[in-house]
């Protein structure tokens, strides 16, 4: 699977769920997690909901690895900056001009929790859902075909374009283009790299349009689908449940805040 997706195939119940169910769950979890108060609420959701789901989906180790790799730099900087640059508060100790504050430290625990939880939420979704399957199920639910085409095609084309850009970079370098040095030198390298990439791509647009027209892209007939993604009454009920619970939670919090 190389179309910009970290999906891994597993024979798990989570994988077999309708993509829309997983999508709704992911979004609702995220909103709930942000709305809940307290330092430890994110960690709670992480451990009580996301980890069990990951186990069900047989992707726990991969999830953990990915989440830590991506979040770690962010979390480290969160701790440093929030602890050191907190406004007024109780200093923990003093190192030269820097006085890390306790409040900042505590706050960064909250922030770290939220970062971890949101990352885990989305990465779990990406690990267990194929993007094209998500698009198909959205189309089944009424998403315009043109939009689905654009999204999936973008996912497949971006890696190729980045590769193409690198090829052009190498080619121009071997022709003597300087890409290192002072600002002026590097800036001069921009156009010889951008122009071939863009102009070459624009010339392809016409052929690609002809190719899909030749495959009936503009047909006025009602589209059919090769792949039908199964849905079930239970999943539909579950989705409604997720959405209603989230709304309830938001309402409760708003009332509680005022």
């Amino acid at each position: 699977m190389d179309a910009l997706s970290i999906y891994v195939a597993r024979a798990s119940g989570l994988h077999h769920l309708n993509p829309i169910t997983k999508f709704v769950l992911t979004l609702c979890l995220m909103i709930c997690g942000l709305v809940l108060p307290g330092t430890w609420s994110s960690y709670l959701i992480l451990l009580a909901i996301i980890v069990p789901l990951a186990i069900w989906g047989k992707v726990l180790s991969r999830l953990a690895k990915l989440v830590f790799n991506i979040s770690l730099p962010l979390i480290v900087s969160v701790f440093i900056i929030q602890t050191l640059f907190w406004g007024k508060g109780t200093p923990l100790f003093e190192v030269g001009p820097f006085a890390p504050k306790l409040e900042g430290f505590l706050f960064s625990i909250t922030s770290a929790g939220r970062i971890l939880f949101i990352m885990a939420d989305f990465i779990l979704f990406s690990l267990t859902t194929r993007p094209d399957m998500l698009m198909i199920s959205l189309k089944q639910a009424g998403l315009p075909a043109g939009l689905a085409y654009i999204i999936v095609t973008t996912l497949q084309l971006v890696p190729r374009f980045v590769a193409k850009a690198n090829t052009i970079l190498d080619a121009q370098r071997s022709r003597g283009l300087e890409t290192q040095g002072n600002l002026y030198v590097r800036a001069k390298a921009l156009l010889p790299l951008i122009l071939p990439l863009v102009i070459g791509s624009l010339l392809e647009v016409e052929e690609r349009a002809i190719a899909i027209e030749a495959r009936g892209f503009s047909s006025k007939k009602v589209e059919t689908s090769l792949i039908e993604i199964p849905d079930s009454k239970n999943q539909k009920k579950a989705r409604v449940f997720f959405i209603l619970s989230t709304i309830l939670l938001i309402a409760t919090r708003l009332i509680w805040l005022s």
């Binding site: 970290i6 962010l74 922030s111 970062i115 951008i194 624009l202």
Partner: protein, 260 residues
């Protein structure tokens, strides 16, 4: 009007948009490889606006922002997502200017010089004002008066005006109209992104209701305030450059491509 919107989304447009989004990302990464202090991540969006029209441009911008957030290792560029409406406006304005032939006309050189000079003058003005701000007793930030600034930094202003004029001459050349359109678009972009940036970057005093606020505040930069300032400064320049590049590209295309 609905007819006009639908007309923009022909098969050619639907094929162009993924390519334009891919161009956004490819060039955005190229700029990182070249270690240049600009983003240049909207060239595809501007291109669609210029070639097709405002609605296609807006769609490209919106989709690009949303997809950029989920494309590479997930969520690394997630901060782009809340600003999707800014990217839409950039595409919209590019389309608007495109319909007025901004990307095809050549401008007189003196206009480019003027634009460069005025832009750098304004830039210097804001930077010096920002650097010299002070906080009075009630906690408000005050900025020095323009007259005081000019007299204090007179030499500096003159230098930057000259530099700006030269940059306008060499960089914009005959693409003055495109450059100006880009400047205006960039300024608009900076303004309409400020509220979101404020919510996302600022307003954190510890009430802890928003992860985004916390994360972006910390991950964004060492000094939050200067990041905000940098955003409103780099955006017009960045868009000016992007519009210029698209002007150059359109100039290099064979005639029949523009007959859409």
């Amino acid at each position: 009007m609905l007819e006009n919107i639908k007309k923009e989304f022909s098969t050619r447009t639907l094929v162009l948009i993924p390519i334009a989004i891919a161009i956004n990302i490819a060039i955005g990464q190229l700029v990182i490889v070249l270690k240049l202090p600009i983003y240049l991540d909207s060239i595809g969006t501007v291109l669609v606006g210029a070639l097709v029209g405002p609605w296609a441009g807006a769609a490209t911008g919106g989709l690009a922002s949303l997809l950029w957030g989920v494309i590479p290792p997930p969520l690394q560029y997630a901060y782009a997502i809340p600003f999707f409406y800014v990217a839409m406006v950039i595409g919209l304005m590019a389309g608007y200017f495109g319909k007025r032939g901004v990307f095809e006309k050549e401008s007189p050189r003196w206009l480019s010089v003027l634009i460069g000079a005025v832009f750098f003058f304004t830039l210097t003005f804001f930077i010096t004002a920002f650097l010299n701000r002070s906080t009075d007793e009630t906690g408000y930030t005050t900025y020095p008066a323009p007259g005081a600034l000019f007299s204090q930094y007179a030499v500096f202003f003159v230098i930057t005006i000259v530099v700006g004029a030269a940059i306008g001459y060499y960089l914009l050349q005959k693409g003055g109209y495109a450059g100006l359109a880009g400047l205006v678009t960039g300024a608009v972009a900076a303004i309409i992104s400020a509220p979101t940036a404020a919510i996302v970057f600022g307003g954190v005093t510890g009430s802890g209701t928003d992860l985004l606020v916390a994360a972006f505040r910390s991950s964004g930069a060492p000094i939050m305030a200067s990041v905000m300032a940098q955003g409103s400064v780099s955006d017009p320049f960045d868009k000016m450059l992007s519009f210029m590049v698209v002007w150059l590209i359109l100039g290099s295309l064979p005639a029949r491509f523009k007959a859409r």
